[in-house]
């Protein structure tokens, strides 16, 4: 088990290394920070001075060294554009993105799972068939389009929901939450829905497929033979065994939700990490761009590591395979 653990952690470290190199190289490709900071009118002498101060003319390896060294110290540097320490910026923006992603995840489970279960239980029903076909559209619609459609309907026509921002937030320690105020919750509805809509379809299809498999098993047949109601069989006995793969997938999907939030945050001016990243790109804000990529990478790698370890805990064959492979 320890060998397996080390193996996985080594993999994670390798992935982080590759991400850090990519983030670093990307910074060199997308533009010139000096041109972005000083604009077009600055004198050549001022440009040279700034290049010197930002260490832009030193050899690539030395600069990579500075960059990794700082990151390992937990110092992400300061953003050029925002003129603030990046750690502060991220601490301020991460709660917004996390709350949005969690709300979208909850929504996708709350709607997707019952939908999938019903579709499996009534698989000959035309309505359920239509719903499942409709869910393909949910997967295919880009989330920015869904967002704009929602804005047109709920902000412009009906005037029920705010079209931008996060509403009022409450500060608990370093975490700002919009879950505790009415305007915060109202602001959350449309962004969470546009982010969740693809996920709902995915969860529904997954639950349906799993559920169909479970419904064929003997213990369900026995349950029916005992005369239990459909409702009890479907939601109490069958669903429980369906949930395990769904929960696993959802965990991984959380990473994707955070990543896709970039698009939704742009549409709704949601003050999260994605919006920050887009602003950083527009300003060629190199330290912020690479910090974002590293933090996002760390997030993905951590989730994957946890999922891997949980798998191993659940399935002994995985452990044995790894050991055999190493031995």
């Amino acid at each position: 088990m320890i060998a397996f653990l080390l193996n996985r952690i080594l993999h994670a470290a390798l992935v982080m290394f590759v991400i850090s190199v990519l983030a670093f190289v990307l910074g060199d490709v997308i533009g010139d920070p000096v041109a972005s900071i000083l604009g077009l009118e600055a004198a050549p002498a001022d440009r040279a001075a700034l290049r010197l101060r930002l260490h832009l003319d030193e050899p690539v390896l030395v600069r990579y060294g500075y960059y990794v060294g700082r990151f390992l110290h937990g110092d992400l540097g300061s953003s050029y554009g925002f003129q603030r320490p990046i750690v502060d910026l991220l601490a301020e923006r991460i709660p917004a993105t996390m709350e949005l992603a969690l709300a979208a995840l909850a929504l996708s489970l709350a709607v997707g799972v019952p939908l999938g279960v019903l579709a499996a239980a009534h698989r000959r029903s035309r309505i359920m068939g239509a719903l499942m076909s409709f869910s393909v559209i949910g997967v295919s619609l880009p989330s920015f389009l869904v967002g704009i459609l929602l804005i047109v309907v709920f902000s412009l026509w009906l005037g029920w929901l705010p079209s931008f921002g996060r509403g009022e937030t409450v500060k608990i320690g370093f975490w700002t939450t919009g879950y505790l105020t009415a305007s915060g919750l109202k602001s959350l509805v449309m962004p969470a829905l546009s982010l969740a809509i693809g996920q709902i379809a995915l969860v529904a299809r997954l639950s349906r497929a799993e559920m169909l498999g479970v419904l064929q098993t003997d213990y369900i047949k026995f349950a029916r033979a005992r005369g239990l109601s459909d409702r009890a069989v479907n939601f109490s006995h069958a669903l429980r065994n369906t949930l395990i793969p769904i929960i696993t997938v959802s965990g991984i999907q959380l990473g994707y939700l955070v990543a896709f939030a970039i698009v939704v945050e742009q549409v709704f001016q949601w003050p999260g990490m994605g919006l920050l990243f887009l602003q950083a790109l527009a300003q060629t804000d190199l330290p912020l761009i690479s910090a974002f990529l590293l933090v996002a990478g760390l997030f993905f790698v951590t989730i994957n590591l946890i999922v891997d370890l949980l798998y191993a805990a659940a399935d002994p064959r995985l452990r044995i395979k790894t050991l055999a492979g190493r031995g």
């Binding site: 533009g31 603030r84 005037g159 742009q266 549409v267 602003q279």
Partner: protein
């Protein structure tokens, strides 16, 4: 006097229709202010918001004319000295009185900022002469210094010292955020209540302001909304009262919605196609077979004229800009200091003449060339470039459009310049044509600071002489003559193919009355919100 009279009339008209009731304004734009430090950045959105809380040394009226600000009058003492009389009885938001020392301090603080070297680098010293007088001494004669001072904001020296921000915060410096990022202490019409970086900016009325308010806004919130459809929806769903930066495609929609109006002002910027005037072998030019051409056709004034006659700026304004721009005929535009309305006549579009000129220049069948095109920053650049390509195709010039995102485009220019043909927005840094002459048109590097944004390296000795003389001439009549001379040379020798001056559009509820400004600032003190 004329301007004052006009304002008095406007104020009287407004007073007649305005209830005394105080109002709140919620408005939005595309990008957030980068900081509340008035001296740190040259971003125009930041300047527009900073202008609410800080007064500039020389005021800038809504029509971009100079007006008394913190300085009540200014006179040229000798070619390198301007004397400013400081307004008395002005207080900062923290209650302390404005002194001449604060003015001198602000000038020196601003002058050291890296982003303002081009504008204020020539200032040697700001000297307090007495309690009501400050002298600004430049290294060389500077006839347009007062115009430059419309962007110089006055900050309290004692406040800056107390909060450790006597120097402009260093970009990208390590450590903590500067105090001025979220706090302000100026003498302006609105006090800064709250600045949440990237999210919102809240102002309230400064009741102790030294001038009367023409509007009735006593509190205001600015919110940046990057996505254009969302910004327009926020206006039409009444979440916002006004949006600066209304996208072209939504102008008709907002106009057509009951209860909304659109106002427009020309931007302090004009679009032009710059053509290589120096290289002997131009970059990315080809013969008709697609092989690199070992020459620079653009150095021949006949080829430049052929381009000017082939490209129909009026058609671009009508189609691509949907009428929201004004055709430009000289290297300046309405609203710039030194603009000459009667000279502003563009080359006529004439395909036959264009073909004839190309033939005379030795390119009867035309040639191929790459047009570098910035994809962001200016309005509809992609479509402008494609329109230019099809117009030049009519005279046999095959244009390959290469679009780049702004950071990449800027890098190409700044670390080169590595472009022989490109579209760009040109502007005088201070809004005076003299700046356009020196930065955009004068021979690159001939004198310190010359041609710093002359990216296509156009050069003309006759023009350089005019520009040089202009920087040393104070007499208004003589200056007008020099402006005319310079603009005429630029047009005759086709310094660049001038296209148009874009228009800024603001959408607002019909009950909001606000004079539009070319610098994109919503001057909250002048906004009237009717019930």
């Amino acid at each position: 006097m004329n301007a004052k009279l006009r304002h008095a009339v406007l104020a009287a008209v407004l007073l007649g229709t305005t209830p005394a009731m105080a109002a709140t304004l919620k408005y939005g734009g595309t990008t957030p202010p980068l900081t509340m430090d008035p001296h740190a950045t040259n971003d125009f959105v930041t300047a527009a918001l900073v202008r609410q809380s800080y007064d500039s040394l020389v005021g800038l009226a809504n029509d971009m004319a100079l007006e008394p600000g913190i300085a009540t009058e200014w006179t040229s003492q000798d070619p390198t000295t301007w004397r400013f009389k400081i307004r008395q009885g002005v207080t900062f938001h923290d209650g302390s009185a404005l002194k001449a020392e604060d003015v001198a301090f602000s000038i020196m603080r601003q002058k050291e900022a890296p982003l303002y070297k081009a504008l204020y680098g020539g200032i040697k010293e700001a000297k307090v002469v007495d309690a009501t007088t400050v002298d600004v001494i430049s290294a060389a004669p500077d006839p347009i210094l007062p115009r430059k001072m419309v962007r110089l904001f006055i900050m309290s020296q004692a406040w800056a010292a107390k909060n450790g921000v006597e120097k402009v915060p260093d970009l990208g410096a390590q450590g903590t955020e500067a105090y001025t990022l979220r706090h302000a202490n100026g003498t302006g019409p609105m006090k800064l209540v709250l600045q949440e970086p990237g999210q919102k900016t809240v102002f309230e009325k400064n009741a102790a302001y030294w001038a009367p308010f023409k509007g009735n806004v006593d509190s205001a919130t600015y919110t940046p909304i990057g996505s254009a459809p969302t910004r327009v929806s926020a206006l039409l769903s009444k979440e916002l009262d006004l949006i600066a930066d209304l996208p072209l495609q939504d102008i008709e929609r907002v106009k057509g919605t009951q209860g909304y109006t659109v106002v427009q002002a020309p931007q302090q910027l004009f679009m032009e196609l710059e053509m290589d005037g120096t290289r002997d072998v131009a970059l990315d030019v080809f013969d008709k077979a697609g092989q690199p051409l070992k020459a620079n056709p653009l150095k021949d004034v006949r080829v430049r004229q052929a381009f000017a006659h082939a490209i129909d700026a009026k058609l671009i304004v009508d189609r691509v800009m949907r009428g929201n721009a004004k055709v430009v005929g000289t290297a300046t535009a309405a609203g710039f200091g030194g603009y000459q309305a009667d000279l502003d006549v563009r080359w006529p579009t004439d395909i036959e003449k264009s073909k004839q000129l190309l033939k005379e220049a030795g390119y009867p069948d035309g040639f191929g060339i790459q047009l570098n095109c910035p994809l962001e920053r200016y309005i509809n650049t992609d479509e402008i470039c494609r329109a230019v390509a099809s117009m030049l195709a009519r005279v046999g010039v095959d244009v390959r459009v290469k679009g780049s995102p702004w950071p990449e485009f800027a890098r190409m220019l700044v670390n080169g310049p590595n472009s022989s043909f490109h579209l760009i927005g040109a502007a005088g840094n201070s809004g005076d044509t003299q700046d356009t002459f020196i930065a955009v048109m004068a021979t690159r590097g001939k004198e310190p600071g010359w041609g710093s944004t002359n990216w296509a390296m156009w050069t003309n000795p006759e023009f350089d002489a005019v520009a040089k003389e202009l920087t040393q001439t104070f007499d208004p009549a003589k200056r007008t003559e020099l402006y005319r001379k310079g603009l005429s040379i630029g047009r005759d020798k086709v310094h660049a193919v001038y296209l148009h001056q874009p228009v800024l559009s603001w959408g607002m509820k019909s009950n909001v009355i606000m004079p539009p400004r070319a610098d994109s600032a919503v001057m909250l003190k002048d906004v009237v919100v009717n019930p």
